[in-house]
C-alpha cells in the first residue's frame, strides 16, 4: 500500500518534471539565443590586455551570476546515466544554460562598453551533490571580467 503511493508520487513528479522542465529549457534557450545575437557587438574575451590602451575612458569590474536547478526527470535520468557510465547529457545542458546566462548577464550589466577583457567563468555546486537525495540539485555559474569603455 505504502509502496504503491510512493510509486505514484514518483510517477507524478517524473511527468511534471519532464513537462515543466522541457518547456522551461526550451524557453530559456530561446531567450539565450535571442540575447546572444543582440549582444554580439560586445565581445567578451579571456585575454588579459588590449593591444593598445588608446582612448579608454573607463574600465570597471563586472560580475554576474545565476543559479539554475535541474528538474526531477533529468535528475532521475542522470542517476541512470551514472549507473551505465558515459557522458551525462542532462547535466551538460544544465551547465551550458547556466554559463551562457551568466555571460549574457555580465554583458548586459555593462551597457555601452566596447569590450570585456580578462573574462573568467566559474562554476560551483550549491548545497550537496546534485544527484543525492533531498539535496538542492543546482549549479551556480559566475562570469566576471573587466569592461572597457572607449
Amino acid at each position: 500500500m505504502f509502496d504503491s503511493i510512493s510509486i505514484v508520487i514518483f510517477g507524478v513528479l517524473f511527468i511534471v518534471g519532464y513537462l515543466a522542465g522541457t518547456i522551461n529549457e526550451k524557453r530559456h534557450y530561446k531567450s539565450i539565443k535571442k540575447r546572444e545575437e543582440k549582444l554580439l557587438s560586445l565581445p567578451a574575451i579571456s585575454m588579459k590586455r588590449l593591444e593598445s590602451s588608446d582612448g579608454i575612458t573607463k574600465s570597471e569590474l563586472v560580475s554576474e551570476s545565476v543559479v539554475v536547478s535541474i528538474d526531477y526527470f533529468k535528475r532521475a535520468l542522470a542517476i541512470l546515466k551514472v549507473l551505465i557510465g558515459g557522458s551525462v547529457g542532462p547535466y551538460e545542458s544544465l551547465i551550458d544554460r547556466a554559463r551562457r546566462e551568466a555571460v549574457l548577464r555580465m554583458k548586459e550589466s555593462a551597457p555601452g562598453a566596447a569590450i570585456i577583457i580578462n573574462v573568467r567563468v566559474e562554476t560551483s555546486t550549491i548545497g550537496n551533490a546534485a544527484n543525492s537525495k533531498g539535496a538542492v540539485g543546482s549549479v551556480e555559474a559566475l562570469a566576471y571580467g573587466t569592461a572597457v569603455w572607449k
Binding site: 522542465g21 535541474i70 528538474d71
Partner: protein, 69 residues
C-alpha cells in the same frame, strides 16, 4: 521554494540573490583591506566559491592591491 524548483527546474532567484549579496560583502571586505594597506586600486581580481558545509558556501575574492600614481 527551492525544493519546488527542484521538480520543475529553472532559475533559483533566491539563491542567485543570496550569493550575489555574499559576493558583494566579500568584495567590500577586500576593498576595505586594500584601503587599510594604503592602496588605491586592486588589480587581477579573482572570484572563487567552495561549499564548506551542507547548505553553506564560501565566497572568496582576492586580488593584488596596488598604489597607482
Amino acid at each position: 521554494m527551492a525544493s519546488l524548483k527542484n521538480i520543475v527546474g529553472g532559475e533559483l532567484k533566491g539563491y542567485t540573490e543570496l550569493l550575489q549579496d555574499a559576493r558583494q560583502e566579500a568584495l567590500n571586505r577586500m576593498i576595505d583591506q586594500a584601503k587599510q594597506l594604503g592602496a588605491n586600486a586592486v588589480v587581477n581580481v579573482r572570484f572563487s566559491t567552495s561549499s564548506v558545509a551542507q547548505g553553506a558556501a564560501e565566497l572568496y575574492v582576492y586580488g593584488t592591491a596596488v598604489r597607482l600614481g
